[in-house]
Symmetry: C2
Subunit: 347 residues, 2 copies
């Protein structure tokens, strides 16, 4: 495409994450924010810049999705509404059927065939029928514990197994996030919460395992997940509240991928408040056993909220240029930071 021609993007959903995505779109020279939709009527009619707390953008938020579903005016929709593909499916079908490409940050959309194969097949067929493409990305799944793992094997002659972990600090997050990780509960309440589904841990492990297995050909045929309470040994701080010793500071969520009975992928994501109180450093850690052996770490962890908004926006030129159908991050050239019009010329 011409470097003076901007990709026209509309934002679907202006919650915390959707607002983050919209702000990044507004900051990019190669992208033009042309619309925004949110179900909350109190946002309708406001300039999107006002909602975002930035300068006026000349784009009015609508509470009618039809306002952004015109393929003559919108090239790509970025959608931030839920973690679950079954819940997002009606919206995705509406966008795709309108003939508009879509980037979702729903965790399960990173590889919907992992847990929702019928939905994945339906979306793929629908996208091909309407000549558009759809993808799910985010910091995780969609980047740190899968795409980055896969790229680190670019020079590997042999891979026998993979271990990766992501240690982060939930302290900056709100009550909703803390409660889904069981923060502040007793160990008994934690186990009851896991059993009744109110404590979910990380969403997206089966998807990450699938991305790695498919990219490398590891043939994973079974994924097992466990959620264990991380019990505070010392008082831990979390947005004004203190988690006392003996209480749950977070959830250690582990996923293991097996191929023919052998564990070949192990992903670990302990999400907790204030790990520093017990001397635990945050970071991302990837070990690839094989030829060569590879051991990588980041410190601190790649910031999740920022990177999710970033990768959603950086994927826009990729999905705009992609062949029709449902895509995964491993199917396309890697998204990269978009820092100038030169970044578009090449794509």
């Amino acid at each position: 495409m011409n470097k003076n021609q901007r990709i026209r993007v509309a934002q679907w959903g202006l919650g915390a994450m959707g607002q983050g995505v919209a702000k990044v779109i507004l900051a990019k020279q190669g992208l033009e924010l042309v619309g925004a939709f949110d179900i909350r009527p109190e946002l309708a009619g406001k300039d999107v810049g006002e909602v975002l707390g930035v300068e006026l953008a000349g784009v009015v938020v609508s509470d009618d999705p039809a306002s952004i579903l015109d393929p003559a005016k919108v090239d790509v929709i970025t959608i931030a509404t839920t973690s679950w593909v079954a819940k997002q499916l009606p919206d995705l079908k509406r966008i795709i059927s309108a003939g508009i490409n879509v980037v979702s940050i729903a965790e399960e959309m990173a590889a919907p065939e992992a847990q929702n194969p019928e939905i994945a097949a339906e979306l793929d067929a629908l996208a091909k029928k309407h000549g558009v493409s759809a993808i799910g990305v985010g910091v995780n799944p969609g980047f740190v514990l899968d795409h980055l793992v896969v790229v680190l094997t670019a020079g590997s002659q042999e891979v026998t197994s993979i271990e990766a972990s992501r240690i982060n600090d939930l302290s900056p997050y709100g009550e909703t996030v803390l409660s889904t990780q069981g923060v502040g509960t007793t160990p008994e309440e934690f186990r009851a919460g896991v059993a009744d589904g109110s404590i979910v841990g990380h969403v997206g492990f089966p998807e990450s395992v699938r991305l790695i297995s498919d990219a490398l050909g590891l043939g994973v045929d079974r994924v097992e997940q466990t959620l264990e309470p991380i019990i505070a040994k010392v008082p831990r701080q979390a947005r004004g509240q203190v988690i006392e010793p003996g209480r749950v500071a977070g959830c250690n969520h582990i996923a293991a991928g097996y191929s023919g009975g052998e564990q070949v992928i192990r992903l670990v994501h302990p999400q907790q408040v204030d790990p520093g109180a017990e001397g635990v450093d945050t970071g991302d850690y990837i070990t690839i056993h094989g030829v060569p052996e590879i051991s990588m770490s980041t410190g601190p962890e790649i910031a999740g909220g920022k990177a999710t908004a970033g990768i959603a926006v950086n994927t826009i030129p990729r999905i705009f240029a992609a062949t029709p159908g449902l895509k995964r991050i491993i199917d396309l050239p890697s998204p990269t930071a978009l820092m100038g019009p030169e970044a578009y010329e090449r794509r």
Copy 2:
């Protein structure tokens, strides 16, 4: 492609690196080694397995390149002959004109437009004319100090500058490699060697800078390189010889990429023998200044010889499936370890 259909590959050049590539090809279920060419007549007529020191492969080495230039029998040629595109150009043209895809490990082929724009344009046009694709890859350039940097920005909202370094140990290498890094010289001899071109440092920095700049749109318009001697402070061991204090233990090669006068990329590659003698750990280090800040390290460094052979082979299915023309690693889905037929089904 069908998972039972193997990609037919021929190896051009059976030096140390070419032998490494051929061994990996032989080990992959999805690839079939169907030919091998080397200019040395003493290898001609031998089974390639005998040359590689592995079991017989049923493939005879030829000293006539025409033996592997039949597109009815060969899908991809992997070529390992030199670091320089101008020197490899006649061979690349012959392969492409025969209608065969090519993966080169010549450092300058990772982004030939960086220093050889006319050659890059010629190869691109020739590949398009003959309906095949060509690419250059290797551990560096082509992976650690460029592709991996680019992928780490997948979630970046903003990148202001990039610093990356690769600290390795040359002790296992032979005399040729050590001499091109000035190992064992006096500081005066080192400077004279840099001036007369006998000490070259790392080959491929302008190419790595170009890959990063193009992928991110950083607009680098000037690359400056410096080569400084690493002077031993304590005795260092290198394959039986000892580098005494005051002598040169290696070459610290630095490349800086500027955009409008501002340094936006800094790549550092100190290549030396026995860095551990002075407490220096080997490893790869990437810092991305921006939003978010990212700091990554590997320890030890991703093994260069193994990863170069690995990435050359892992790129074969990518270049086989690519649209015609000259490609760079940033233009394709990342190569990844090939561990089973599933890895081919998807491509």
